[in-house]
């Protein structure tokens, strides 16, 4: 029996240590995490590290190839687009847009989805049936199509794109939370709280929800990457962020005509999307393995 006094702070650090042990088993997850941290830093310090402003036009240097190719210049690392704007600066600033899109979408869909899932799982009956059928209906329509329709209704723009995408992601959170809630309802500690007289709100948010978090966190992480992809897709279709906002998808859209003459203007934003999404997915995989209850000694 542990007889020494262990302060609460070191218990936390012990939990982090244990989490990191299982997370770091997957080298790809760690690599993904490092890359993700770099992207986040890039987004935070965009103004400092980007060599030029994202909207700064250098008309005389329009459609310049990347610096390592013939005709390129060192000051325009990845070349310039049709209006002479530095690609590298635009991509750096675009990371802000993409990360913002990911965050907003996940926060919206997660909070609404978890709440609906909790209520559906806990109350059961016709409330559950109603919520789940609405979610089924949303899931029946292909995600991007539904988002397009919603944006068409709300009007194009980055914020509306994010709201539309969030709505399409909500059902997965609802299902996940409802399934976990149903399992948790049978646990003895929930019954114990009930015997102590806990109200339904307390039961839902204190007894049940914290124990459902693992799959929700994993889903949230993976939704983050899909949100970036979907935002880019909407941007590409002209329904998301509008020019001159340097969102990665919009960057590809506005340089679409140059795909043969100046392929670097579409390739590099595309590569940025690919790497960011890949990194987040790797982190999500690592998280799922680390949070897997079978590995934990609980």
């Amino acid at each position: 029996m542990n007889t020494e006094t262990t302060p609460a702070t070191s218990i936390r650090s012990q939990q982090w240590k244990e989490f990191w042990f299982y997370f770091s088993v997957s080298k790809t997850a760690v690599a993904g995490l490092i890359f993700l941290i770099l992207v986040i830093l890039m987004a935070i310090f965009a103004d400092v590290i980007s060599p030029h402003g994202p909207a700064e036009q250098f008309r005389e240097y329009a459609k310049l190839p990347p610096s390592w190719m013939e005709g390129g210049q060192a000051q325009f690392f990845l070349g310039t687009d049709y209006a002479g704007r530095d690609m590298w600066s635009r991509i750096i600033h675009g990371s802000r847009m993409s990360l913002l899109a990911g965050c907003v979408v996940v926060v919206l869909s997660l909070s609404i989805g978890v709440l609906l899932g909790l209520i559906a799982g806990y109350r059961g009956g016709w409330i559950e049936t109603f919520i789940m059928r609405v979610m089924d209906t949303i899931m029946a329509v292909p995600g991007l199509l539904l988002a397009l329709v919603l944006v068409a209704v709300l009007g194009p723009g980055l914020l509306n794109a994010m709201i539309a995408i969030a709505i399409t992601y909500t059902p997965s959170f609802v299902r996940l939370t409802r399934a976990s809630t149903l399992t948790e309802l049978n646990r003895d500690y929930v019954t114990a709280s009930r015997v102590a007289g806990a109200s339904p709100t307390r039961l839902m948010f204190v007894s049940i929800l914290p124990n459902c978090m693992a799959p929700i966190i994993v889903q949230g992480t993976l939704s983050f990457s899909t949100a970036i992809l979907d935002t880019a897709a909407l941007g590409f279709l002209g329904m998301g962020a509008q020019a001159p906002i340097p969102e990665w998808g919009t960057l590809i859209a506005e340089n679409r005509d140059l795909i043969l003459n100046a392929p670097w203007t579409v390739t590099f934003p595309g590569v940025a999307i690919l790497l960011a999404v890949l990194a987040i997915n790797l982190v999500g995989d690592g998280l799922r393995d680390a949070l897997d209850p079978k590995l934990k000694r609980s």
């Binding site: 029996m1 218990i11 500690y189 015997v195 102590a196 914290p210 609980s298």
Partner: protein, 325 residues
Amino acid sequence: MSEPIIKARNLHKYYEIKDGLLHAPQDLKALSGVSFDLFEGQTLAVVGESGCGKSTLARLLTSIESPTSGYLSVDGIDMADSQDKLMSKKLRQTVQMVFQDPFGSLNPRQKVGDIIQEPLLINTELSATERREKALDIMRLVGLKEEHFHRYPHMFSGGQRQRIAIARALILKPKVVVLDEPVSALDVSIQAQVINLLIELQKELGLAYVFISHDLSVVRHIADDILVMYLGKPVEQGPSKVIFKTPKHPYTQALLSATPSTNVDKNKKRIKLTGELPSPIEPPSGCTFNPRCQHAQKSCKTSEPVMETYGKSQAACLALDEGRI
């Protein structure tokens, strides 16, 4: 004689099992006709195997569910009045529960101190400091240390977790504690520690226990009265000493005979029970025990036995009634 703290008369609990739109709903008779009295400071052991209804009884006693029919009163309060919020609060403070699985009965995301304080937080208006004081007091009483207050359940062993569960059950100062197989999941040496703790607490706080268990050796040690159940029906009840010395019902006898013992010298004649435990949805007709009973006759398949008194205990058996055994 003082009033019993729990009075149960002819409790029934049926669940409706819906089997789709095409079949009529079936009745799952979880509990049929349980009656007993429990006095302050006494321990009633409820003994039986899977499907006997002991968990259902626990749920009725802690007002998680209400009986389909029958009378149940706790500390003079009729449970049927428990729909009233004030009444149900008072009931909560009178009857509390300790669960079987020490690993499943504590919320892994809550600190031990919060788990123990939760009943106070819900039911009283005490300040945070007062609640903490009370929680620490109870923890000391059950043998936990102050530094355990800030830890999470997974850092504790099974025995310690059960102590935490006991602390949580006692913090509202109940008069009755329902213990649903509290030591079945524990090792022998820890089992002994926890049983000793329960015995001491009973003496010190004057608690009444409803001790649900399938382990007859533990029951023999701790119980004053025993209620033996089979498939929701009480088959034998009475003082513990009487039942262990002279079990009357064939099921009780088989149960005692099947319990292994470390006395290697004893030449025990084992009563072999054949067959499986029947399902509570489709119980056998007549006496529910008849398919497995060695004394069963034709009448046992058609008529249901009633609890009769034989000496100091009661049993429900047609063979006993007819003087066959």
